[in-house]
Each structure stands twice: as structure tokens, then as C-alpha cells.
């Protein structure tokens, strides 16, 4: 081989070696959800327009809306700290506790928003824009470069709803001591409720089933199933995946729906058709109005 040829091949190898990491970086700056591919560069523009006011310049959840200055040095504007993307600990996942979420999970969170918090559903942004944001949010944490997302949990098909299923769910609610935090009637007023803090030592409320219909991580039965089988990482809500079987988890879903006394659901209707259920629901429904009309004298 001539010196010229050697030099040429060396140059080629060098060129290949130099582009390889670039390709890897390009891969890292992306998010993938079905046919959608988000790009970090585009997401960056959006982040510094829409998100950084709360989530902060560094993505650490200490934007100016959280760390208020001026007249309110100690009082943040928001009462729930925005997500710290640096830690890469996310509540709403389809992956087991302690693992990174799928791109799809983050994408869904951006579009859904979080009830009872200041995070709105960003449906004003296009799907592509939300995908771009997910790609950029992932760049805040080195974890997305070194770790893979967990294997998503399998949610088996929902079995047919029955009174037995609801009753068994009620037993599980007792046995698993869900009521310790969520309260015996699911109002978020259990004996441990007032002591709860999240992983940033901020006080946090357990979910109150008696008002509203949406959960932190969605509104469907499947979402509810995932909430307690994956746990909401960064909060006191643990994962029950190692503790209950899939069919039991569905029973619990059915029962939890009956705690939502203001939300019409097939579970509530069925439970109300039984004697025990009707009594329970009647005692839990608030009668009357704030003005006092409708209350029996």
C-alpha cells in the first residue's frame, strides 16, 4: 500500500469516527411517538417561550413563577413545584417505578396537563410541537443518555364489571391500606394525609376521589390501573405491582370509580343499584347547594 493510500484510508476512518458520535447525538436529541419524531432544537425554541417561566431556565423546576422575587420573597406563586427535569423523575409513566418513562408518557403529560396544579393541557400546541418539547425536555437530564426507559407494564383487557368485582375492590382498599392516605371514603383525608411530602419536601395532598373525575395521569380506567401499578414517582404514592395480581387491580379500579360520587360511571350506577352501595353513595353525596336550598329542614 502506498503512503498516499494509507493517508487516504486514515482520513476516511477519521471522518467516519468523527461523524459517528454526531449521529448518536442526533439520535439523542429526538423523541419518538408512533409516527411522530420530535426534535430537540425545535423544542428548545418552544420551551423558552412557553415553559421556562415555571420549569426554569435550567429545567430544574425553579422558574420565576416558583421562585418569586420582589414583594413575595418567601411566597411562591405556585403551590405545587413544577417538575424538575434534571432529576428525570416523572409521575405519569407506563413503566415500572424507578424507571424512565416512555417518550409517549411525556408527550401525553404535556397534552393532558395536571389536574389540581398549574400545568395546563398544552393542546394549543400542535402534536409536532409537543413532540419537539419532549425531545428537548429529555436533554435536561443525563439519564436519558445513559439509561433506557423501563419496559411498559402490560394492562390486560378489562374484565366485565360486576358487583363482586366492586366488593372485592373494596376489600383490597381496606387490606392495602389505601385509606391511610386517601381516607376511608376516598376524600384524601386519611390519618397520614396531613404529613405527606413529595421528594422535594413540599407538602402534597393525596387524591380526593369525591370531587371531579380526572386523575393526575388521565381519566380512563386504564389510566387509573396504571397509576397504582406504576406508582407516581417523586410522590408518596407507591407502586403496587409486586403486591396485587392484574385481576385484583381491575377490581380495585372498579371500586375506586364508586368513590367518585359526583362522576357518572357504569361502576357507580351498578353499585348504586345494590342496597349496600345505594346507602353508601347517598351518605357520601353532598346534598343541597351552597345557598342552602334543597336541604331538608
Amino acid at each position: 500500500m502506498s503512503a498516499h493510500k494509507i493517508a487516504k484510508s486514515l482520513l476516511l476512518t477519521a471522518a467516519v469516527l468523527l461523524t459517528l458520535p454526531l449521529l448518536a447525538v442526533a439520535q439523542q436529541g429526538e423523541s419518538h411517538m408512533g409516527k411522530l419524531t420530535g426534535h430537540s432544537d425545535a423544542g428548545k425554541q418552544l420551551y423558552f417561550r412557553f415553559c421556562w417561566g415555571c420549569h426554569g431556565f435550567r429545567g430544574d423546576g425553579s422558574g420565576e413563577n416558583w421562585l418569586a422575587t420582589g414583594n413575595y420573597p418567601t411566597q411562591p406563586y405556585l403551590n405545587i413545584q413544577p417538575r424538575n427535569f434534571d432529576a428525570a423523575v416523572f409521575k405519569c409513566r407506563s413503566t415500572p417505578t424507578g424507571t424512565l418513562p416512555l417518550d409517549e408518557d411525556l408527550y401525553n403529560s404535556v397534552g393532558r396537563g395536571f389536574v389540581m396544579s398549574n400545568m395546563p393541557p398544552w393542546i394549543s400546541l400542535t402534536k409536532q410541537q409537543r413532540a419537539d418539547l419532549v425531545a428537548f425536555i429529555k436533554s435536561f437530564s443525563p439519564r436519558f443518555k445513559s439509561e433506557k426507559p423501563g419496559d411498559p407494564i402490560t394492562v390486560p383487557a378489562e374484565p366485565k364489571l360486576s358487583v363482586e368485582s366492586i366488593k372485592h375492590g373494596q376489600e383490597l382498599f381496606q387490606k392495602l391500606e389505601c385509606w391511610k392516605c386517601h381516607g376511608p371514603e376516598g376524600r384524601g383525608d386519611g390519618p397520614s394525609a396531613s404529613t405527606l411530602t413529595d421528594s422535594n419536601d413540599q407538602p402534597i395532598r393525596p387524591y380526593n376521589f369525591a370531587v371531579g373525575s380526572r386523575f393526575k395521569c388521565g381519566a380512563t380506567n386504564q389510566d387509573l390501573y396504571k397509576i397504582f401499578m406504576t406508582g407516581l414517582d417523586g410522590t408518596p404514592m407507591p407502586s403496587f405491582a409486586d403486591v396485587i395480581k392484574p385481576e385484583e387491580a381491575w377490581d380495585l379500579v372498579h371500586f375506586l370509580r364508586t368513590l367518585q360520587v359526583t362522576h357518572k360511571s357504569p361502576e357507580l350506577a351498578l353499585w348504586e343499584s345494590t342496597k349496600e352501595g345505594a346507602e353508601q353513595i347517598a351518605s357520601r353525596r353532598v346534598s343541597g347547594t351552597p345557598t342552602g336550598s334543597g336541604i331538608k329542614q
Binding site: A87, V89, T97, G98, T99, E147, K175, L176, E177, K180, C181, P191, S192, T195, L196, T197, S199, G231, D233, G234, T235, P236, M237, P238, S239, F240, A241, D242, V243
Partner: protein
């Protein structure tokens, strides 16, 4: 010829193993005592009335374990370990066990190695949730009702991880995930011992959950025993 070669290799291997064992079993020791100076905060009694199944296990209410002291100003629950100078050890296969009993963590501070199996048991008649608040490692949070199998996990990076149970807010503990096998936790008398240290220069670190950490340099030669004492400044709150 072949048999001869095998036997020679075997003999060599044996000698090598013996030499290795000798180095492990012999070696120097670092031992000493951990004490405090100043006035530590008084341990507070824990109100477990919200958890009767645990409250009845304690004849007198137990106290918080953030600072546990003994006679002669001794300080308990200090993790003493070799932070520099020793090579990283392969993880042992026997698990480090963390028990939940009477709504208390036993032990309060558990030291184990990177990638060593960690086993969490619930001996109570109530549900606990084990929530190690890892920052470097991955944070997880699992429910463990009574009678369920142990939770087995491991950590792949060294870190001091605060552990809590959200259901029972008084339950606090620590996982000390360390890089090598040379670690000890100061006992009731504040004493500790790090045996089997090959000759070398070591950095010994003492870590306490409220009083922070201290380091000292120690050089070990042969099979001598060196005394290293740690004195922590107590905080009155």
C-alpha cells in the same frame, strides 16, 4: 506431559489462591471510637397512636433515631468506611437485609456495596411503603403490605440514600451504598473496626446523618492496628 502441565497449573493456582487469602485474612486493622462534643438534641418520643398494631409492640414509646448517643459521649449509627485508597470490591452475593418491625427500620442505617442485593422485609401487621429518596441512583417507591414477599433490589452507584415510609412519617432510615467491603457502623459504645486492610494509604470517612462527614488519612503497614477516632460537633437542634 499433559497431566504434568495440569498438575503444575493446579499447584500454581493453589499457591496463588493461598497468597490471596493470606493477604485478605491478614493485613492491618483500623479501629476506633466515634464521639460527639457539645449538646445534642434530645431524642423525641414518637407518637404511634395512629398505628395501634405498632404502638402495642413498644412498652414505652420509642424515640427518634436521628441522633443516638451512649455513655461517654459515644455516637451511634455513624458509617465509617474507606473512601479512597482501597480498590472497588466485587459485590458479595449475600443480601443486606432491611427490616420493618414495630414501625421502625432495623437497622436504622444499613451499609452495603454497589450491586449487592438489598432485601427489604415487612415484619409488621400493617402496610408500609418503602421509598428510598435516591438522587444519583433511581428513585422508586413500593408498597409492601403484611405477609408479602421481600422486595429485592440493588443500586449501581455509591450514594447515601435517605429512606422513608410515607404512611408512617416518623420512619426514617439510610441506605449507605459503598464501593468496597471496608465499612462499619459505630455501635452503642461508638466503636468500629475495619479489619483485613492490605498495607497502603487510606482515607477513612465517618458519615453521620445529621452531623455530616469527616475524613482522616491513615497509613497501614503489615498487620498493625491503627486507632482512628472521630469527634463530631453536636447540633442542639
Amino acid at each position: 506431559m499433559r497431566a504434568k502441565l495440569i498438575s503444575i497449573t493446579a499447584a500454581l493456582a493453589l499457591i496463588f489462591a493461598a497468597a490471596l487469602l493470606h493477604a485478605r485474612a491478614g493485613g492491618g486493622t483500623i479501629s476506633g471510637k466515634v464521639t460527639y462534643e457539645g449538646t445534642p438534641a434530645k431524642p423525641k418520643p414518637i407518637d404511634m397512636s395512629k398505628e395501634p398494631s405498632c404502638a402495642k409492640q413498644h412498652a414505652t414509646p420509642i424515640t427518634t433515631e436521628t441522633v443516638v448517643t451512649g455513655p461517654g459521649n459515644s455516637l451511634e449509627n455513624v458509617v465509617v468506611y474507606i473512601s479512597a485508597g482501597a480498590p472497588d470490591d466485587a459485590a458479595p452475593s449475600e443480601p443486606a437485609t432491611f427490616d420493618q418491625k414495630g414501625c421502625q427500620y432495623i437497622p436504622h442505617v444499613l451499609a452495603f456495596q454497589v450491586n449487592q442485593p438489598l432485601k427489604v422485609i415487612n415484619d409488621d401487621q400493617t402496610s408500609h411503603n418503602i421509598h428510598p429518596l435516591a438522587k444519583v441512583n433511581r428513585e422508586w417507591n413500593k408498597s409492601q403490605p403484611p405477609g408479602t414477599p421481600p422486595i429485592v433490589d440493588k443500586y449501581d452507584k455509591p450514594e447515601f440514600i435517605p429512606v422513608k415510609c410515607n404512611v408512617h412519617p416518623w420512619m426514617h432510615g439510610t441506605f449507605a451504598v459503598l464501593k468496597n467491603s471496608h465499612h462499619a457502623i459505630s455501635g452503642q459504645d461508638g466503636g468500629f473496626s475495619l479489619p483485613n486492610l492490605p498495607a497502603g494509604k487510606y482515607t477513612v470517612t465517618g458519615w453521620h446523618e445529621s452531623y455530616g462527614e469527616q475524613t482522616q488519612e491513615v497509613t497501614i503497614s503489615g498487620s498493625e492496628t491503627k486507632t482512628v477516632n472521630f469527634v463530631f460537633k453536636a447540633k442542639p437542634y
